[in-house]
Symmetry: C2
Subunit: 249 residues, 2 copies
């Protein structure tokens, strides 16, 4: 028995999210089907850094699993890619200590949310949120700063989470214009962890501010209110990418 961890990317468009759900196509199920083939047809359970929702993409996702067979890191990458569908791509495999855990040892995660304010591009309909109208980026840049720090992010959690601890720390949050296309923006978030729909709900409120429906400082009021009804709409899944996952050394 040997523990491995892999880094991989996937196109979330044709998946019903990351986590196994009977009867639905998920990233985890495709990964475990491929792992089973490599593991002499013995089932393998994998543990990812966290889930991603339906339609959300990953530039870098991390998962660990134990294999009965001994296989080199390079061979594992090749064997996985030849058994996985083309919307999942493994680019790194590492042998790990047997106590490594891809979920519990995460120290930080980063997401990027992509917005196109310009003309609708059908090639990107599954990969960028095509907002279709201008946004006041200056106001959004002011507002996003209120999110940095340690806060109770209850206002940005879609489900009823009354009992759950919603305190998280956001270490970085900023908006960057695409250097080659002035109508495209990337919204970055890095933090200790993110709750279900948190990023998309924070982006939803940023968009509402960009549409000048509310003032930038309302970001702070909504955050303090701990009331989901005060925040905006959940931004569409297609703009969101898991960008990075970091672990303690």
């Amino acid at each position: 028995m040997k523990r491995y961890c892999i880094e991989f990317s996937y196109d979330g468009s044709d998946f019903c999210g990351y986590q196994v759900q009977p009867g639905l196509r998920t990233v985890q199920e495709e990964l475990e089907k491929a792992l089973k083939k490599i593991n002499n047809n013995q089932s393998v359970i994998s543990h990812a850094s966290g889930r991603t929702d339906k339609g959300v993409h990953a530039y870098k996702q991390v998962a660990h699993f134990d294999l009965d067979v001994k296989i080199s890191e390079a061979k594992l990458v090749r064997a996985l890619n030849s058994n996985l569908p083309s919307d999942i791509h493994v680019y790194l495999a590492k042998e790990m200590a047997e106590d490594f855990h891809a979920r519990y040892m995460v120290t930080s995660k980063a997401y990027v949310y992509k917005i196109n304010l310009g003309a609708f591009n059908p090639m990107e309909r599954k990969y960028v949120y095509q907002c279709g109208h201008p946004l006041d980026i200056k106001s959004m840049k002011k507002a996003i700063k209120y999110l940095i720090g340690t806060h109770d992010f209850r206002s940005f959690v879609s489900e009823n989470k009354e009992k759950e601890n919603c305190v998280r720390t956001i270490t970085k949050a900023y908006i960057k214009q695409d250097p080659t296309d002035p109508e495209r923006y990337d919204i970055f978030f890095e933090g200790t962890g993110f709750l279900k729909y948190q990023v998309r709900n924070m982006v939803g409120l940023l968009i509402k501010i960009g549409e000048k429906k509310i003032e930038p400082k309302e970001m702070q009021s909504v955050l303090i209110s701990c009331d989901r009804n005060k925040a905006g709409k959940t931004a569409p899944a297609e703009g969101l990418y898991l960008l990075d996952v970091k672990y303690r050394k």
Copy 2:
């Protein structure tokens, strides 16, 4: 009866090419289905600047058609987009003189072919040719220059075209590195017209040159030979985009 011309873009991934083929999903069929709805349920025949093959995309395609109903240009754009699937997007409509023809009046067309030499990106598997290994771009830049000018492009036509006139003029052909990603390149072609598979076959030979299997000057020998067997493989459809269509004023 009024003649209109539209400019539109489409994602070729889920189409069996542009032209109507019974039982298959094509761009033309989707367009004509939407036009019929707008035209009081009377069938409309459309004429595009030319076909694109299965999996090939368009940033700008042009088509003309006649409508029985009178509709403003702006309304026609909105009506088409609300009746078209999301992988086709109309961004301009113009009323035209009744002798305008979207195919016969073309003066030039431009294509771009996108290549990624870096790590495989599953999000782009339908939108860029992911070559998976380095290419000698310097040699490709030398070779592409031989294509500029008026030549018999018979060597780059896949089907048996012995009787057809394969003389065309390429006015521009060059390779450009992506300013934000040094492992990405765009190969541009502009000319009076292109034959079926011509661009993908020219790119196929450029790739063979980039792989150092043959010298850059072989581009000229292949061109002069007028022998399809001398050229390389046809480059995959997913990297190719119809970029522009120009008409005489």
